[in-house]
Symmetry: C2
Subunit: 404 residues, 2 copies
């Protein structure tokens, strides 16, 4: 029997009515003849409520306790989905992450999956059960409950799909699929029928609504992932590795990420080892540095600029200021209200002119480019956050993404 | 190091402020030099909310799913108590029932504890941790989560106290201890300093606020149980097996249970095997029958009356009516608004006159006795529910329970 793994996000299971709706979708898949393993997130904003509750008691609760607390959200929703299926006459059983065999390391609140023991799931499927699994969680060798990081129910689903050798992984969410740009910003945005793993990874990293770690994992095992709506019946977007050449030679979409702040270390003496001196303390604090730009030096002095998530800007500044003093730099400056807009597509690898088109489109729209960063299949410009809607619309038009 | 097991009920952990208060009590015990294992119930009416949520989805959810769902309530509260202790600088760790080593059979929603593996708790205590355990739950051999029945956090606490060879088990609740009668009915009611296991068991079965199964278990292993308030600092009531002779020769208290209905099978032919024919179908349906009275037969016909919990009266009637027809009885009658009032005390074993005093007191108060049932240390009268307050007050006065 072929197995399909499905994942339903928090908004898809936000109340009893939606849970019944999810159960109907699962039952329909089951009736088409596949074994179904469905991963569910916590209902609505349950996770935020639990975090608030914890913070009323402790500003920084121990990560192990936090994980055991938060894991209850997904357990509640998976038992309710199982109940709804049973009520409809479909045998179903819910499993916590640990019961489902998801083994992790002990890095609480951001654990990594170290293994999967699918024996319990296989046993339940053989007995004709549909299996509902609590997303976002696993268990250590010592039987402590861990969570895999925010949004990691996607990761649970992809990992289970791989471990169970599923036909594919289906991600049900509140959007209909992956678009050429955010439809709220660009009314002409077009839903993609398919997209390659690498492009999806860049889109996910730069603003599209799926967890990047899940895409990486799916790509590593070439597990096809279908992203579609849990509310409307419409074809979604298939993320896979077998795109035709034609489909590969294009810009796939425009992404935007508003969570960007910039820190500049001014007047840095240009000598070997300076970059390491600046970035090692940030790494030790667990602050992810994104784009780094170092200008050509003038009189053996240079400016070193980097971006971090806006939520980490204050901490990054506190870490960097004493370092700047210690290396004899002139000081630090920071700017909060920035965003990244990115053009993503495998087509860009071999064809020149994409970057020029992008810069020209932003210039014509009167948008100043603060920094530029590129990968093989992505060009990103950092711009004023207020300009994001205009920038995305300008790029969508310049690359004619509204056309099939 | 001596170990004390404490249990905090749902009202004691109903919000963040109360959770911090519980953490302070636990910390104070820890600072007096004992290792502390604290069992907690779900916050406030969490369990009822979860049951409501399940019933929105299914009128009769599968018991296995119900157990996994309900188990989350206690996990939330135990992680929060552990966080509060850590915030106060006391190392603490929370454990689910399964992590705490509580093994049960597979009778979901009313599982029985089959074993306890205390190794994880001992390991944590040795590392200087205070251990917070989710009450009311355990795990089967197959790693499925079970619950032990309503109010069974008391049972978790007593079982852990026995398994860990604790010095004693302390039950913290919203009353200050065990009283000679419900203080809301009898203002003169007196808090008992101590009470024997058998008397407490009768009181618990007949209305006092503690789970009877827990008392039975504590009695079987002579584990002393202290019942006291989590809100005020006042000496509680110690339930133990070592009462002095003097303390044993008394009425301990008056209990009342309002959850009583009566069913009478009228005109039953008085021949052997009738009782079995009537009660076996009830047992098969899992309906607990309490008091049974069979009148002397007149013309080889008799009336057979029994009581059940009021919540089960309708079901009991549905089971019994066809049976009554099949044995040629005249029919069934039922009455819902009944209650039991009981006088409990080891003193009654050897001294006559207690029953007479009881019946006289009720008669003087104008209360009709519907049925009578006795154990070695208890006399129970079934009366009109509306008469409970007067009955309890009359009995409290007749046995002079306000006096030490």
């Amino acid at each position: 029997m072929s197995i399909i793994v499905q994942k339903y996000g928090g908004s898809s299971v936000a109340d009893a009515g939606r849970i019944k709706n999810v159960a109907r979708r699962i039952a329909a898949t089951r009736q088409r003849g596949s074994g179904v393993v469905a991963v569910v997130s916590a209902m609505g904003d349950t996770t935020d409520h639990l975090i608030d509750l914890a913070h009323k008691i402790s500003p920084s609760p121990p990560p192990r306790e936090m994980d055991l607390l938060l894991s209850t959200g997904e357990i509640v929703s998976c038992t309710l989905v199982a109940m709804a299926l049973n009520e409809m006459g479909h045998k179903a059983i819910s499993l916590s992450g640990g019961q489902a065999g998801i083994q992790t390391d002990t890095a609480h609140t951001r654990a990594r999956i170290t293994g999967l023991d699918p024996s319990r799931i296989h046993k339940e499927l053989e007995q004709g059960h549909t299996v509902i699994v609590a997303g976002f969680q696993g268990v250590t060798e010592g039987m402590d409950v861990t969570t895999l990081g925010r949004g990691a129910s996607d990761l649970t689903a992809v990992a289970l799909a791989i471990g169970l050798k599923a036909e594919r992984c289906e991600i049900y969410t509140d959007v209909e699929g992956i678009y050429t740009a955010d439809p709220r910003l660009v009314p002409q945005a077009r839903k993609l029928k398919e997209i390659g793993f690498e492009e999806m990874l860049e889109l996910a990293n730069y603003g599209a609504k799926m967890q990047p770690r899940s895409i990486e994992l799916a790509a590593a095992y070439t597990m096809p992932v279908l992203v579609c709506s849990s509310f409307v019946d419409a074809p979604g977007t298939l993320i896979h590795g077998g795109l035709s050449m034609e489909n590969r030679n294009k810009v796939a979409g425009v992404a935007a990420d508003r969570n960007v702040a910039k820190i500049t270390v001014l007047g840095v003496p240009d000598r070997p080892g300076i970059a390491a001196t600046v970035f090692e303390p940030l790494a030790r604090e667990g602050i992810s540095v994104d784009t780094i730009v170092q200008n050509a030096s003038v009189d053996r002095l240079t400016d070193l600029t980097f971006t971090v998530a806006r939520t980490e800007a204050q901490r990054a500044l506190e870490v960097t200021e004493p370092v700047a003093r210690s290396i004899g730099a002139r000081g630090c400056a920071s700017a909060q209200n920035l965003a990244k807009v990115s053009v993503v597509g495998t087509g860009m690898q071999n064809a020149p002119g994409y970057a020029a088109t992008m810069f020209r489109a932003l210039y014509d729209a009167g948008i100043n480019i603060e920094m530029i960063t590129t990968s093989e299949i992505r060009i990103t410009c950092i711009v004023d956050e207020a300009k994001v809607p205009e920038a995305v619309r300008a790029l969508h038009a310049a690359f004619q993404l509204e056309k099939e």
